[in-house]
Each structure stands twice: as C-alpha cells, then as structure tokens.
C-alpha cells in the first residue's frame, strides 16, 4: 500500500495564491464587464486554442504515422499487475502475439495480488514473473523490472490493456531520431457498448489520437500512457525511474523527459485497447486521480512554464492548459458565489411568497437567445470539426449515430469533468493524501 505524494506547504500556498488570483480576476471582470462580454472573451481563448490545433493538423504532414524499424533490437515488455484476475490472461496473450523479429521478453510484475491472478500467471508459459511480497504500487513495480532487464528498449503495458500485433513494428522506427525517448500510441477503449464507454471512446480518439499526435508534432507531448509506451532504456540513466506515490506517474515521467529536452512521439497508427471505467463512479475515481496528478505535476514542474528550451510547450501548451483549468475552477467558484446569492434571494422570495400566499408564475415569453450564443455556436462547430478530424485521423467510422454522443460530450460531459477538476484543486490544496493501490487504471 503506497500513500500518494502531496504538495509541500509552499506549493500548496502557491496553488492557493494562483486560484485566489484567478478567482479575484474573474470576480473583478464580472463587476467591470457584463457576463455576456466575459463569456465571449472566454470563448475567444477557447476558439484560439481550437484553431491552433486545426492549423497544426493541416501542417502536421506525416507526423505520427507508422514508422517501421531498420533494425530489431531486444525489447522487454513489462506488465505491472495488481488484482487483475479478469484481464491478465487476455493481456499476456495479446502481448505474446506481438510481431517482432528481434529478442522479445515478457515480464509480469505481480504487485502482491490477492484475487487469484497470481495463480493464473503460473499457468501461462513463456513469461517471466517478478513477485512482490508487499503491494508497492505501479511505479515501484515498473522500476523493479526496469532494473532487471538488459534490453535496449522497454515497453510498459497495463495489465488491462491489449496491444495490436503490429504495434512494435509501427512504433520502433521513431527511435532512429536520437532525441526521442519514448513512443506512445493510440489508446482505445476495449469495449464501447454503453453510453459511458461511447463517450470515452470519442474522448480517447480526440485525446490519445488527435490531440497527442498534434502535441507530439510540436514536441509537446507530456504523458507516457500506461496502456502502451515504449521507452529507450538508456533514458532511465539520464532522467531516473518512475516516481513512487505519484497519482499520475505517467505524466510525471513525461514532464521529466521534457525537462531534459527529450521527445515523446505519439504514433496514431499503432493501437492498444484498454479496459475503461464502466460506471460513473469508476470514471470519477479515474479522472480524480488524473486531475489531481496533473495539478500536482504541473506545480512540481513549474520551471517548465515559459521555458525557452521547449518554447511550444513552455509558452503555449503548459500555460494554456493550466490557465484554462484554473480559470474554469475560478469561474465555478464565481458562479457558485453568485448562485448562492441568487439562491438566498430566491429562497427569501419563496419564503415571503409562502408567507403571503399565491402561486408561482413563470413567463416563458421572457426567454430569449442571448447574443453570446452565436459565438458559442461557431466554437462548437469547430469542436465538432475537431472531433470529426479525430475520427478521420484514426480511421474510425463516423456516422449520424455518433451525433447524440457528440452532443452529450460537448454540452453535458464537460460539467462532469469540470466538477472533478474543481474538487481536485481543493484536495491538492488541502493535501488530501489518498492511497495508490492499483497498478493498472
């Protein structure tokens, strides 16, 4: 059992200061500008980011397509496992099917599983198993394996993920460029039957497919996703191993690579399938971890903000990502303040109304479209184009049946994610530790 890392007192104070500053600016702007102007300004920033990505898409050329290797060095595939009874067999079987002409070893690190998955492992041939006597967490599981292998490249695969056969052939060629430290791929949900899975499917296409590819085209990819990442082993000597107790150790490692000026390439042509949360509470827990890990790591790697060595990342990706997140939380706080005031007024009206008698009457003729809706209509149209491009890039079928999912993803889902991010900020600010038990997602 590993406790999650928490921010130091100074870092918590910095996070509090930033959130307070943004909230103050939002409140100040609310009093100086009308809410309609505020919405348009916020929409303008969002529109700029979207247009930037669309233009990157047009400029990206062949970036992210499969890149076959010229040689076949030895590769170690490492699968950290903790209580993965339902998935480990299929995971190992799919890994064993991976095509590779060089030496390939498969190592499963059993992080003290107690659900019977250790027994399943014993029945699988052709793999090496490292067993932990205590549950030490995913980072330690991976690090222990990294230290015991001699291959030139290591591949990390979550125990609930299933790579396609040609994944190594498509991704290995990128290491011809000496500055490339890691290569990631398109992560897709293994199943997409329910609404929550369909939403995540589109989200993964846009995030792990289009967004990561575009980011990597400007050397700004900053995550090495658990479902599949291939890392040059010599990199560990330069930057160190995965950080124990970090809620988003894949992001922390990615940021560390950036700090050392190393590249992460995303190959959208190579695919790994992964199990995704099937309940809203499961999704909440996963995103809570991602969001808190993200906040924690951005604060830890604050020196990357406005860093001239990584101009695209330092002056655009990181500040915009962090600023939009913290601004969203500030807007939530502002909205809650205003809503509380409105609720207070409304309750007083209701109270007096009940006291004085009568019935409620709402005049629907007073509902009109605000002028800001036209600005949002344009932005949402570009968001739809962005999602459509994600489908196109990843060669997925796009039909009208996806439209309701798009609408939910655009109009409802962001509130859910924003809620998670907002509470994540407060958890990080007050230093809620939490436990990091599972080695997989």
């Amino acid at each position: 059992m590993v406790d999650a890392l928490i921010l130091s007192g100074k870092e918590k104070a910095l996070l509090f200061f930033l959130l307070a500053l943004f909230t103050f600016l939002v409140l100040l702007a609310s009093f100086l500008l009308s809410s309609i102007v505020l919405l348009v300004v916020f929409n303008g920033v969002f529109l700029f980011i979207l247009l930037f990505y669309l233009l990157l898409y047009l400029n990206k050329g062949s970036h992210g397509v499969s890149n076959p290797p010229k040689s076949f060095p030895s590769v170690s595939i490492i699968i950290p496992m903790y209580n993965s009874k339902g998935t480990i067999r299929a995971c190992v079987e799919s890994v064993k099917r991976i095509k590779w002409l060089g030496k390939l070893e498969i190592i499963v690190v059993d992080d003290c599983s107690s659900d019977g998955s250790s027994e399943i492992l014993k029945k699988i041939r052709g793999i090496r198993v490292i067993t932990h006597e205590k549950n030490l967490g995913k980072a330690v599981a991976l690090n222990n394996a990294f230290k015991r292998v001699s291959s030139k490249f290591v591949v990390c695969i979550d125990s609930d993920s299933y790579p396609e056969r040609d994944i190594l052939l498509k991704t290995m060629g990128y290491f011809e460029d000496k500055s490339v430290a890691a290569v990631t791929c398109l992560v897709l949900p293994d199943k997409r039957n329910s609404l929550i899975q369909k939403i995540q499917h589109i989200e993964y296409l846009a995030g792990f497919g289009l967004n990561n590819t575009l980011l990597s085209s400007i050397s700004s990819s900053y995550v090495v996703p658990g479902p599949y990442t291939i890392i040059k082993r010599s990199v560990f000597e330069k930057v160190g191993y995965f950080q124990q107790g970090n809620l988003a150790e894949d992001m922390e490692f990615g940021l560390r690579l950036k700090k050392h000026g190393l590249k992460i390439i995303n190959c959208f042509d190579a695919v790994v399938y992964t199990d995704i949360p099937i309940t809203w509470s499961g999704l909440f827990r996963q995103r809570d971890r991602w969001s808190r890990g993200g906040i924690f790591n951005f604060i830890k790697y604050k020196e990357l903000f406005f860093n001239r060595k990584n101009p695209d990342f330092g002056f655009f990706v990181m500040p915009f990502l962090f600023a939009t997140q913290i601004l969203t939380v500030a807007i939530i706080i502002r909205t809650l303040c205003f809503l509380l005031f409105d609720l207070f007024t409304t309750f007083k009206i209701i109270f007096e109304y009940l006291l004085l008698g009568g019935f409620f009457y709402f005049d629907f003729s007073r509902i009109v479209f605000p002028s800001s809706i036209y600005f949002f209509a344009v932005t949402y149209l570009i968001v739809l184009i962005y999602f459509a491009l994600a489908f196109r890039l990843t060669k997925q079928k796009l039909g009208f049946r996806e439209l309701p999912i798009f609408l939910i993803l655009i109009f409802i889902y962001p509130y859910f994610i924003t809620l998670i991010y907002s509470q994540g900020y407060f958890k990080e600010m007050i230093g809620v530790g939490g436990e990091w038990l599972r080695v997989s997602t």
């Binding site: 309609i36 930037f52 400029n59 409304t346 009206i349 007096e352 004085l356 008698g357 002028s371």
Partner: protein, 213 residues
C-alpha cells in the same frame, strides 16, 4: 513552423470573432429598430388618445369611443413589448441602444398610464391602472421580485388591472421622478393603486381584493 501557426490562429480567431460580432451587431440593431418602430406606433396612438382627451373633455363621447376601441389592444401590445425589450436588453451587447429604446418605452408607458386614468375618469372603464416601482440594481431583489411575481401571476388570471412598471430613482430614466414625486414614492418595491401607496409586500389575497380580482 509553429510560430506562424500561432500567428495564423490568432488572426483567424480575431477574424472569426469580428465576423460574428458584426453579424450579431447587425441583428441587434435590426431588433432595436423593430422595437423603436413599435414604440413609435404605441406613442403615436397614445398621443392621439391624449389629444382626444384634451379636446373632448366636456362630454368625452368621442374620447371614450376611441378608448374603448383601442386601449386594451394598445395595453396588450405595450405589455408584450416591455417583456421582449427587457429580455433582449439583458442578453445583448448593444445595451446603449436598448437603454435608449427603453427610455422611449417608459415615456410612452407614462402616457398610457395617464390615458388609463383619464379613461377611468371620463368613461365606463373599469381596469385599474397600477404603478409598480422597481429597482434597476439589486437593492430590491427580494421585495421587488416578490411583488413582480405576484403581479405577473395575477395578470395571467385577472383582467381587472393593468400594471405599469417604472424604475425607481434611476439616473438614466430621470423623468420617472415626476411620478415618484406626484405619488410620494420613497422606495423601490412600492405599488400605487389609485390613491393608495403600498410600500411593502402584502398578501396575495389582499392584493387580489385591492385589484378587484
């Protein structure tokens, strides 16, 4: 490569925002001009009614005939216009033009209120004109919200009164001061029913009785 992409994205963002902004401005300007046209029509009819009242005050037959034919229609048009005007005003960029339109509307509404009074004075006209003074700012959210809701709900089921809403003591609409002084209104959230001044919320039953519902 990326630097030029930032510049292009920035220019494209500004261009799109400007195109949308100009389209919205044109649409708002058209809407304001529609409102102004309707206000002008209502004002003209108000003026006409006032003229009849001034020249025909001795036996008032013609005035009452004109009033009986037009006042309810005029009142409904004015009421509907007020709701739309306020709703669009709260949701538009070009608030200055809407303020000017609202100013014209309030002046026209004052005249309509005056004609309602005259009609009650000279003709067989039973609709009670009610003045309601609200606050433009948030100083009277609870009381004004409550009284406004009471008037709206009663208006939907009872045609024995007509509410005329005016902002209380607001710089941009200084002319409403004349009504405040005339009726001795001292705060927002005040109702004037006939000669009675009610400066605090009353029960819906009491209000119904006073409004003849």
């Amino acid at each position: 490569m990326a630097k030029s992409v930032y510049v292009t994205a920035f220019i494209a963002t500004i261009a799109i925002m400007l195109i949308v902004f100009f389209s919205v401005s044109i649409s708002e300007a058209n809407r304001v001009s529609e409102f102004n046209e309707e206000i002008k029509q209502i004002s003209l009819e108000n003026d006409l009614q006032s003229a009849f009242a001034d020249f025909d005050s001795n036996n008032a037959e013609v005035f009452c005939l004109v009033m009986s034919q037009s006042i309810n229609n005029l009142s409904n048009r004015s009421s509907s216009l007020e709701k739309k005007l306020l709703a669009y005003m709260d949701n538009s960029f070009n608030t200055k033009e809407f303020y000017l339109a609202k100013r014209s509307f309030l002046i026209s509404n004052m005249l309509l209120y005056r004609n309602f009074q005259r009609a009650r004075e000279f003709c067989d006209f039973n609709v009670i004109p009610v003045l309601f003074f609200y606050a433009e700012d948030s100083s009277c959210d609870v009381e004004c919200g409550l009284i406004g809701a009471q008037l709206d709900s009663l208006a939907s089921e009872c045609s024995s009164f007509r509410a005329f809403n005016f902002p209380f003591n607001w710089e941009s609409y200084e002319f409403t001061k004349i009504l405040e002084v005339k009726y001795g209104v001292e705060k927002a959230g005040t109702l004037v029913i006939g000669s009675e001044i009610i400066s605090h919320p009353i029960s819906i039953e009491e209000l119904k009785t006073k409004l003849g519902c």
